[in-house]
């Protein structure tokens, strides 16, 4: 029997897939479908959008049947691994910060800020945090910008 976290995650996944399937069908509705003689652009989106929708519904039915019940003995339950919301939201926040700083001040400075912030969230402090942020930023800039010629965006203020 699956844990509550697994069940909820699968439920969320199935609902997400169902939504994506329906959106695919909606967006592909006006595309020409063609025939078996000549497939047109709408053939694959409609077929696979339909498959995605149908399979998501089947998964939801299966999840309803297999939903965890509180009648199990504590010892029989698999160890639950709940979502670490604080960490997840922190990293999403760091990523949003990276995008904002990158837009304003450029990729290199954004890298430094994101490295420092993520190291801080993970528990790094002091000189170790500074060395991590500076050394990694320098290494990436040297390898990708100088050596491989991947031009890193400068930002609107720089």
């Amino acid at each position: 029997m699956m844990t509550k976290t697994v069940h909820r995650a699968r439920l969320l996944t199935a609902l997400l897939f169902l939504a994506l399937g329906l959106i695919t069908l909606w967006q592909s509705y006006e595309l020409p479908f063609g025939s078996l003689r000549q497939l047109k652009p709408g053939f694959f989106p409609n077929v696979f959008g339909g498959l995605l929708t149908g399979l998501s519904v089947l998964m939801l039915i299966g999840l309803w049947r297999d939903r965890p019940r509180n009648t199990e003995a504590a010892g029989e339950r698999e160890q639950d691994e709940p979502v670490h919301w604080r960490g997840l939201l922190s990293f999403i926040g760091i990523f949003a910060l990276f995008l904002a700083v990158s837009y304003a001040f450029g990729f290199v400075i954004a890298m430094f800020v994101a490295l420092a912030a993520s190291g801080f969230v993970l528990g790094l402090r002091g000189w170790r945090l500074a060395v991590l942020a500076i050394a990694t930023t320098a290494a990436i800039w040297l390898i990708f910008d100088l050596w491989l010629g991947v031009s890193l965006p400068p930002g609107i203020w720089l």
């Binding site: 994506l20 399937g21 998964m59």
Partner: protein, 498 residues
């Protein structure tokens, strides 16, 4: 005979040996960088060959080719970030081995397997290139469609026994691959009037999001399994006798399977890794170990990848036709030097052909010589504290995603699929079927479209062609049989309980 001797002795000249070593080293270094892989490595380092004479230039490219392939598997094993699509399968068991303190053994087996499979492939290429190339030409769009469809149906179920979940993930992968411009008609599909989606989604940010970023997100949890501190002495870094014994069969089978699949058009190196994984899981006496650190799960796919890359050289060298992106990049290297590979290559440039073949053997040996001693250094990376390693992994994923198309949109895609990958982790759903659908979706659509035109709508013609008929029937049986068996078992259980 004189040309063979001239070619081989040219490959063994001091300068060309140095060039080969440089190629292997650079290829490994660039291949390790996430998002680049061997195609990226060769593309970026190709300008180095402009000023070289043809033999040395092609030897350099061959070294980069093999080095890039090995580099892609290093990050898969150490930090669960596949360096390229063909290294996705290696993460399933390679990273688990790292978490158990066996990173060195995993890396060593990947290097040894790549070497053996590469050498095996080169021998087969040398002996059998022309007749094999002629057979490969029998593969048209119908056979192409059949092999991709069967691959999707069968290989997607390697990691999850649920048909519904596996096929749902494939369906989403195919839908994601349809975003952008339709190759056949030029129509825009699923772009939502957004200019960012017109070019479609690149697979690199998606696989780095699923495997790398989701690992970064997971690192915050108490249950995060940090790699066990292992003894990093050379003796302990190498695979044990038992591990070597268990790896021998998978390496040989993987190399041969990969070589055979590399002869076929399409993403053969990706398919070959999945096929090898599935084969080894079926043949193993302990299939329950797969996905938890089985060495066969690293040995087989890595060998298959190298075997497929060598097999892909057969149609390139014999017919001048690249069947996948990697040989296509090699073709450009040939063309830059004014050489057209094909049936006349051996006649007109015999010494160059044999120098190239000899340098591939040499490059393979150098790969092993260069990377085995570095295994200890690479393994130390896995033992860095996650407080240090995870921010670095995150940043390398971001730069890797950005460097694909120099687009910040790909960085956003990386993050979205990172969160999605984390959700799938919580749901205990392995994302590899989705990756397979994403990579093979365009091939499936194009080959079905071309087949429909050839057959003029009569799709039963698939069963009139021996190769496609065999593949489709085998695929059908392999897909339906577990359902039938489960239904029979369920009926019998109900009868017994009644």
């Amino acid at each position: 005979m004189e040309d063979i001797i001239a070619g081989i002795s040219s490959a063994f000249s001091f300068f060309n040996l140095l060039v080969c070593l440089l190629g292997v080293a650079l290829g490994t270094l660039v291949g390790v960088l996430p998002g680049l892989g061997p195609v990226g490595a060769i593309s970026m380092l190709l300008p180095l060959t402009f000023s070289m004479e043809p033999t040395s230039a092609l030897i350099l490219v061959a070294g980069i080719y093999f080095g890039g392939m090995y580099g892609g598997s290093t990050t898969s094993i150490l930090v669960n970030v596949p360096g390229e699509a063909a290294s996705v399968v290696t993460t399933l068991d390679g990273y688990k081995m790292t978490q158990k303190g066996r990173a060195g053994a995993a890396l060593s087996i990947a290097a040894i397997g790549s070497f053996v499979a590469g050498t095996l492939g080169m021998v087969l290429l040398t002996l059998l290139a022309p007749p094999i190339a002629r057979m490969a030409l029998e593969f048209g769009p119908p056979e192409h469609f059949a092999i991709v469809l069967v691959g999707l149906l069968v290989l997607s179920r390697l990691t999850d026994t649920s048909l519904i979940r596996s096929y749902m993930l494939i369906a989403l992968g195919v839908v994601l691959s349809l975003i952008g411009i339709d190759q056949m008609s030029g129509s825009l599909r699923l772009v939502f009037d957004s200019p960012w989606l017109i070019d479609g989604l690149d697979f690199v940010p998606i696989i780095m999001g699923f495997y790398g970023m989701s690992e970064v997100l997971g690192s915050l949890e108490e249950t995060y399994q940090k790699p066990v501190k292992a003894d990093l002495s050379l003796k302990k870094l190498m695979p044990s006798k038992a591990e070597l014994r268990r790896s021998t069969g998978p390496i040989v089978r993987g190399g041969l399977l990969g070589f055979a699949m590399g002869l076929l058009p399409g993403p053969s190196n990706i398919l070959s890794t999945y096929a090898s994984y599935g084969l080894e899981k079926k043949l193993s006496k302990h299939p329950e170990e797969f996905g938890k650190g089985a060495i066969e799960g690293v040995a087989g796919p890595e060998s298959a990848n190298n075997g497929a890359s060598t097999g892909a050289l057969v149609p390139l060298l014999s017919l001048g036709v690249p069947f996948s992106p990697l040989p296509a990049i090699l073709l450009s290297a040939f063309m830059i030097q004014g050489i057209t590979p094909g049936p006349l290559l051996i006649k007109e440039h015999a010494s160059l052909f044999w120098a190239l073949i000899a340098s591939m053997y040499i490059g393979n040996v150098m790969l092993l010589v260069l990377n085995l001693p570095l295994v200890g250094l690479f393994a130390k990376v896995a033992h860095l504290s996650s407080k240090v390693l995870m921010p670095i992994v995150m940043m390398f994923c971001i730069i890797g995603a950005y460097s694909v198309r120099s687009s910040m949109f790909d960085v956003i895609v990386l993050m979205i699929f990172g969160v999605f990958g984390y959700l799938l982790k919580k749901a205990k759903m392995e994302p590899s079927p989705l990756v397979l659908g994403l990579l093979l979706g365009p091939v499936l659509e194009n080959s079905l479209g071309q087949s429909a035109l050839i057959f003029r709508g009569d799709l039963w013609q698939f069963f009139n062609r021996p190769i496609s008929a065999t593949l489709l029937i085998v695929g059908l049986i392999v897909t339906i049989w577990p359902i039938v068996r489960r239904s029979i078992h369920s009926i019998r259980s109900r009868r017994r309980s009644a």
